[in-house]
Structure formats: structure tokens, C-alpha cells
Subunit: 330 residues, 2 copies
Amino acid sequence: VPVTMRDVARKAGVSVKTVSRVVNDQSEVAEETRQRVLGAIDELGYRPSKLARALVTQHTDTVGLILGDITNPFFLEFSRGVMDVAQAHGYSVFVCNSDGKQPTQTLALNTLVDHAVDGIIIFPAYESEDAMKAFANHYQPVVVVGRFFEHPGIGLVLMKSYQGARLAVDYLVSRGHTAIGMIAGSATPLSLMQRVEGFRDGLKDCGLPVVDEWILPGDPVLEHGVKAARQLLTEHPQVTAIFAYNDLLALGAIQACKKLGRRVPDDCAIVGFDDIQFASMVSPALTTVYVDKYKLGQQSMIRLLEMLEDPGNSFDPIYVDVVLMVRESA
Amino acid sequence: VPVTMRDVARKAGVSVKTVSRVVNDQSEVAEETRQRVLGAIDELGYRPSKLARALVTQHTDTVGLILGDITNPFFLEFSRGVMDVAQAHGYSVFVCNSDGKQPTQTLALNTLVDHAVDGIIIFPAYESEDAMKAFANHYQPVVVVGRFFEHPGIGLVLMKSYQGARLAVDYLVSRGHTAIGMIAGSATPLSLMQRVEGFRDGLKDCGLPVVDEWILPGDPVLEHGVKAARQLLTEHPQVTAIFAYNDLLALGAIQACKKLGRRVPDDCAIVGFDDIQFASMVSPALTTVYVDKYKLGQQSMIRLLEMLEDPGNSFDPIYVDVVLMVRESA
DNA sequence: CTGAAAGCGCTTACAG
DNA sequence: CTGAAAGCGCTTACAG
């Protein structure tokens, strides 16, 4: 039996409106009245229904967070950043799982709208460019992380993926590698992936040819890293270094090398991306491109908050820095 | 401008009630009318407001999930299990972070109630026994994971922690260790922790003394593992094996050994608990007690669903099995 | 400084 | 098979 505002009003001998006023700190209420109401609230253990309030105010104090494969520890720290900022600002967060698939993501998007969340953060965005924009036309604000979308109503938080990839290539070349492959991930078409672009441009600028057969797409999960690395090193044994789209893939590649009897980094150097929590603890410790995942999450939520505050405004993308962490695998 | 049921009714030339009927598949509606309504819904892009519905039906199709330190990869797979089952049954999930602290957890609990979630899963439960029971008296259902709470309205999902600890001890003793320490974690008082109980009983049953100074409590995070292991091995150099409350702590202990120049497992054997995703990839690969984290999550949500279906009933605890994974660290 | 009325977008008895 | 009225628990103009 939930306690309602009317119960409080009755107990305090005032109108419902007055209770509403003290609950929301609105306008002036006589101090004596206020105390009486506060007393009644306390005595009854009254807590205002966010649902009822939301129905009239049209905001729910909730946001939606759609994540790809939650199995990637990357998302752990990222979510933590989102949730800490959200909580500090009185927002609760619905977490959904797109499972790396576009239909599941669309479902999640619709469910969140049904629940009338005030805003949505999506990472990564598996929707097609058109679908995403169509969605953003009837629902706002949306913050997209890690993928470029030029569209009003969509906020952007990006890491410097292109630069990170170039750092990785430059480093590998400086170590004498000339035959470098890539395991590329699959969140979006290859042509849209900054990490792949950076990889190609890096190669070119070092005067090395870009061999398309050495760039393998696929899901960004460990198992695929094993498979892709095996394929790459078997079909193209001349490859002596691999740049992986993320650490999970890189870890998989290390396992593949072990199975193939290729020593890392001597027979095959491997560079990852993300610097997940365990990258430094595996053996060999992973050389990888660090990005502050917690900060990325914070920035995403902060940007969403800004868009909520100022719906008309358009915001520039936020870029989060990366830095190469040289360890043992390359 | 959201499309309302009234808009649909107007467009289809029927009453709001009829629209409601077809949306909810209630009773018989003339097929021709149904099609007309469906057409209008489609044309207008109408989606029923869960908020408005919730206000009258008193259920929101949402559940709350309160997690401890989300930084532990354990929670990744656990949440995935919860969310997959939730999603399959049409529930959305609010994820909150208790940050391993009781006040933060209480806050989360209250926020979830304010949002009128249909049920709550809490793991681990930092509330005191009394506080938890008091809460369960005015809000139900709650599923508590990994900690025993005998109380109506609280569902229990437990892993066989006691047995797991005994497996670890038996194994270490079988390898010739007689001076075994423990890094114990701190979710609840030591006396309530099944892993500690199992550890002590295991020692006793093997005819070994239980040395209280060799059992160090503390937060279940990596940094504390480093600190506790260093302290343990420095103050009590005769200790040759450590059983850790969880893998994060065990990983920290391995790092401490490296710094102290103690080889693992030769100079100090280490056994963890959980078998997180990376336990097998670190060096030395971690010997640990495996528990199916994904399944634990699934079972928790399934139990919550059962309690939702059948509020009067009382349910027996669910126990999830554990198995010792012998790898390199012990 | 305080209150009565209308309404947010639905569903629930109750009629017909 | 279909509809008019009341109500879920709040807030928003509008009065006084």
C-alpha cells in the first residue's frame, strides 16, 4: 500500500498542491506549514512517485545506455564512467545489450523510447547511418560514442582512433617490420573505421604497400582474434606483425601464435587497442593503445546532460586522447 | 509531439477503449475493427506509453540490478545473464552501482523504489541483515545473490562457496602445503563468509591449525590483493600458499610475489575464486575455483520472475555448482 | 501564502 | 462486440 501525496496532505491538514510545493521546493511556503508537511512526510514514509510525476513533466530522470558485447571489459570501465556521472545528477540508467547486432539494437532503442528515457547513449552504434539519423529525427538527444555521425540532435564522443592506429603502425615500422597485417573488427563498414584508415595511411606514409588481403574484418571478440590471426599467419606467413582492432582480438592473436609455434614478439609482434584492465597482466604483456575508458564514459554522460540542458544548441564532437603503451608483445 | 491513444482512436473512428483492447490483445474485437486500429497505429507510428500504463497497472516492466564494484569482470558475465533473461521476458533493467558501500547501496535501493521497479536483484548485499529485512518488509520481491538471508520476500541464489573453499584447501594440502594463508574480502562480516568458513573447516579436517593472523580481510579489489599478500608474506614468511577470496585478489597476490621475489607456484602457491575471463591468460595462469557467472545471472533473474508470478509462495535457495580449475599458479 | 480544477496517457470495472 | 466515466499520483496554470 503506497503512501500518496493525498495521504500526506490529509495528515498535515493542507492541500495536495501545498505538499507538492514543499516536495519540489517551489515558491514560498510558510515555514510553519512546511514543517508540518515535512513531519507528515517523514511519519508516513512518503516517497513521491517518479512515474506519476513523469507523466506530467515529460521527463523521467532516466537515460538509456546501449552497449555492444558487454563481454568486453572495455565496457565495464566505460559504463562506470557513465553511471557515476548519471548518479551524481540524479539520473538512473537503463542498460541494454545490442549484442553487436543491428536488429537487437533497434529493439533496445524502441524499448528505451517506450520507457520515455530522457536521453540515450549508444556504443557502438550498429545502426546504419540512415537508420540512426531517422531515429534521431524523432527522438533526441542521442550521444553516439566512437563513430562519426554528422547530424543535429546527435552528440559525438570520439577517441582519437585514427591517431592511435598511426602510433601503432609507426612503432611497428620503427621496430623494423615491413609486413604488417590487421585484424579489423566489424562495428561499421571498414571504410568508416578510423582505426583502419589510420592503419592504411600510416603504412603509406612509411612507404609501405597496403595489402588488402592482410586486413581481416570480423567480430571484435577473442575467439575471432584467434581465428583471424591463424588465417592471416597461415595464408601469409611473411607477415611479422599484427595490429588488432582491440585488445580482445590482440589477445586472441597471441593465443593463435602460441598454437602456431610463433613466438611473440620475436616471430610475430602484436599491438592491441584499448588497454583493458588485464592487458598488462597477460603473458606476454600486451603492447597497446591506451584510451581512458572511464573518462570516455563520463564525457558521454556529460555531453548528454549538456544536450538535455540546452536542446537547441549544436555541440562539437568531444575527442578523447590515446597513448601508445609499449610492453612485451611488440 | 508524441502520438497518443486518442489520436489513434480518432483516426480509426473508434473509442480509446477499443484501441486499448487491440494493443493489449484483450477480449474479442471484430476483425475488421482490429485491422482498422492496427492500420491507424502503424500509420501514426503509435507506441503506447509504458509510463501511463504503469501508473494504473502498478507494474513497470522494469527491474533493478544493484552491483558492487563493477570493475570486477565477474559482474560483466553475471549482468549479461540477468539482462538476457530480462530482455527475453520483456523487462528492462536499471543497473546501479553500490560501489561496495552500504550508504550508496541504500540510496540505490530507494531510487529503484522511486522508479517503481517490479523487483530488485542485489549482489553483493552490503546492507546489514536487519536493514535488508526491514527493506524486504515494505518492498518485494528482492533476490539476494551470494549471501544467505532467511526472510520471506527475499529470494536466494547462492554459489557453493563453502565447497569451493574446501576444494581449494584440499588441493593445496595435497600438494604438500601446511602453512596456508587467506586474503578474505570484506563484503560481510568474516563469520558470515562461506569461503572463509570453508577455508577454516578444510584446514581443520586436514589436521592443520587455523592461524587467525594468516586470514586478512579487505576490499575485494586487485590493489588490496597486492597489499595483503605483501603483508602476509612479509610478516609470516613461513606461509607457502595463499587462498584468495576472488581472482582479483589472487592476481594482486601474484603481483606481490613477483615484487617480493617469490616464484609462483614454487615459493608461494596461489588459488583464486571465480575464474574470471582472464584467469587463464595471465602468467602464471591462475588456479582457481570456477563458477558459472552467466548462469548465476540467469538464475537470479529467473528466480525474480518466479517470485513476481507467484508472490505468496516461498522459494528454496538456488545453489550454483563450483569446480576447481588447476592451472599454473598452484 | 494557499487551494480547486484540469490533465498527463493509459486501464479498469460497468453498461449496453 | 463497443463505449463513457472514473481514476492511477502527480503538476500546471489560474485564482484568491
